[in-house]
Symmetry: C2
Subunit: 429 residues, 2 copies
């Protein structure tokens, strides 16, 4: 492991270690910004091949992490996120190959124009520089995030949770061998070689070495990072997503979409957490959707008005409107009209994704215009809130911030730009 992850002198304090990693990442970033597409893709494909070839070692490291996690009494959900198997390893390898297949964003001309004085100006994509990724138990983030950063020409400093350190280190060694095969800088992707929590604090302070940090994890991780970071963040705190069944909704369509939006995978950030039903269709729609949701194993917590329509509905408390369940639980509220639906969303949305189901084009336009969430949808499942589903390729997360990156954060969002101005001796009057 010491050969492939950054080498650590056991005497070195975490702050010094991190600054050394930062310096090395800056040097790597300067080289990577000019690296050829071929070299980056070769490193990614070679890393994928290494992951397949070394799956036995990766699974063995993962088994040790899992045993330690059970001893530490991690929750079943955490252990599931930590666990690897042959299928998950194959998915990680294929993910790297898919990133290799994406167009290289670096050097793309985003806009070009000529001024009356003959100056030709172009806006050209450049890498961001050094990206820090702080994550928890999912070892696949090591390869997913490292690969995406590399493709966009950035150096990555990856900080995994202590529970997945062995698995992540095994994956890191495959990435490192890929970098080496492609003759890229060995610090292009670095895994922080310590589980010391002081390393995270230092990462959040070292804005001279890291351009942006992506926290990937639960609400408490994101809150800590937000409170402490001096480095800009691409983050999403929560996905409290709403689906609103409008008075003019197609009832059959609404039944299918709502069940999918909640129950396809209740644990992802794009899952609908609150269902708003227009009073005009509530008496008809609520019993039908309760049948569907009950059949799918979903608990429904509703307001008083909804409970008069179906006695399977459990009473909701005010906290339900602000809860990201990430589970087979749905909050339900009857609203007077579009206005009331917009008002509810304005008050309770986390700015991630909202959908309206309606056949009324004017109502749909008002919904998508007046809401300012990162993603607003008409007649579609909020579970489509995903970079892959948007056709943007792999993503490092969904940003609910408004600056720079918003919505799915894929390779293009991991870039910046510069202006190139070409003249023939122009002086400014």
């Amino acid at each position: 492991m010491t050969m492939d992850t950054a080498i650590r002198n056991e005497e070195e304090p975490a702050t010094l270690l991190m600054r050394r990693l930062g310096l090395e990442a800056r040097a790597a970033a300067a080289e990577l910004a000019l690296a050829s597409t071929e070299a980056k893709n070769h490193a990614l494909c070679q890393a994928a091949a290494n992951i397949r070839a070394r799956s036995g070692a990766i699974l063995a490291a993962n088994a040790r992490d899992l045993a330690a996690g059970k001893a530490k009494r991690l929750t079943a959900a955490m252990l599931d996120r930590l666990a690897l198997d042959q299928a998950r390893i194959e998915a990680i390898a294929r993910g790297l190959e898919e990133v290799a297949a994406l167009p290289d964003p670096v050097g793309t001309v985003l806009a070009e124009w000529e001024r009356p004085n003959g100056l030709r100006i172009s806006r050209v994509r450049t890498p961001l520089g050094v990206i820090g990724v702080i994550y928890e138990s999912r070892p696949n983030v090591t390869a997913d995030a490292g690969g995406l950063c590399l493709k966009a020409g950035n150096a990555a400093i990856l900080r995994c949770g202590s529970e997945s350190f062995g698995s992540s280190s095994a994956l890191m060694s495959c990435l490192a061998a890929g970098l080496q095969a492609a003759h890229l800088h060995e610090a292009a992707i670095q895994l922080v070689p310590t589980t010391d929590r002081a390393a995270v604090g230092e990462m959040l302070r070292m804005s001279e070495f890291i351009d942006v940090i992506v926290p990937r994890g639960g609400k408490s991780l994101v809150e800590r990072v937000t409170a402490e970071s001096r480095v800009p963040l691409f983050k999403h705190l929560e996905g409290i997503c709403h689906t609103y069944v409008h008075a003019d909704a197609d009832i059959d369509l609404a039944r299918r979409v709502v069940v999918n939006a909640k129950m396809r995978r209740p644990g992802i950030c794009g899952a609908t957490e609150t269902l708003l039903v227009d009073r005009a269709v509530a008496a008809r729609f609520v019993p039908l959707i309760l049948d569907d949701l009950a059949a799918a194993g979903c608990e429904v917590r509703g307001d008083d008005e909804s409970r008069t329509l179906d006695d399977r509905i459990i009473p909701a408390t005010p906290a339900d409107w602000d809860t990201e369940y990430l589970d087979a639980i749905l909050a339900l509220r009857i609203v007077a009209d579009l206005e009331a639906a917009l008002d509810h969303v304005h008050r309770h949305s986390s700015g991630h994704t909202e959908a309206i189901l309606t056949e009324d084009g004017a109502a749909a336009e008002r919904f998508v215009t007046e809401l300012d969430s990162a993603i607003v949808m008409v007649n579609a499942s909020t579970q489509f809130a995903d970079g892959g589903e948007f056709g943007m390729g792999a993503e490092i997360g969904i940003s609910t911030g408004k600056l720079h990156a918003r919505g799915p954060v894929g390779v293009e969002q991991l870039t910046s730009f510069k202006y190139v101005v070409r003249g023939h001796g122009q002086c400014r009057p």
Copy 2:
């Protein structure tokens, strides 16, 4: 004044006052995001008319500020930035009309595509929300920044320096009357109604009310804001801009461009501070450019090699390579070749603007590719680093950051975007 700037209860602590301004700005931003282009333009043009109509009152307020400034022994440069006259007032009014004439960025579709499953996805420009602007003595920033933020659909909280508070308040009253005439929210543009320094500290902390802060001022202001802010910044710390005269430069072109780049207006951030001259042309070029610079009144501080070529050159110290003079002083260094020029820029640039002067296309491409400053130029004066000169209209500043906004920050850079997804009942498999 209390009618037009936000009303302040003298008993209210600065922190409470600022949070109240923040809440009002959020409410204004929600309305402004949906305001019509016509209403915004009407407010801008009406504000311009008010500024012309009330120029007497503005000049009287400015005279009081200037008298107080002289009593406080402000420097001549600060007093010049503070001073208004009829011509500067006309320029402020015309600036607002020019912003009104710009296309409205809000609602522009930036990209549109359809997925194989029939989902139609578009990326649509939205306002950022609430923008804080912290500036020093130039009262024109009140109108310039307030107008740009309004055009992009954002609410603005403006914090001027205490020395220009009277002048800025007089301008603010013209903006407020413009908002009122257009029936826009009165908190769309707010001038912080106190010179209490604690108000700035609170502004930098209230990330729930302010989406981005633009510090417009000298290095010490930007450093303070950077150290304290919990709100993202669009900033530039310094403009240490370089012009490199390559071995294959057209000497006549280089003479004209270098003099313009340094001396057209030495005090702007895009002024060249360091001239790098390739050894291959140094013996020929240095005496000629010294003639030109001496005639223009510019002091030249050079390295030892340059001083062997012309005895008018004063010895440079290492600090000169890292100094933004903003004055009629130029640092000069002879470099062995393009490689050495790139190395000098990498070490000393502040990431603002750099230019190469050369007839060699390959050298020019290498220069613009390998440098990652916000603006890189070929055969043109660095003084063109300006939103207006780029054809982007008025700007609120030049950003040397890499996130979101880089280079000139105009109306488009003061926006974010959202994704609008239109379907017909699609569920995610």
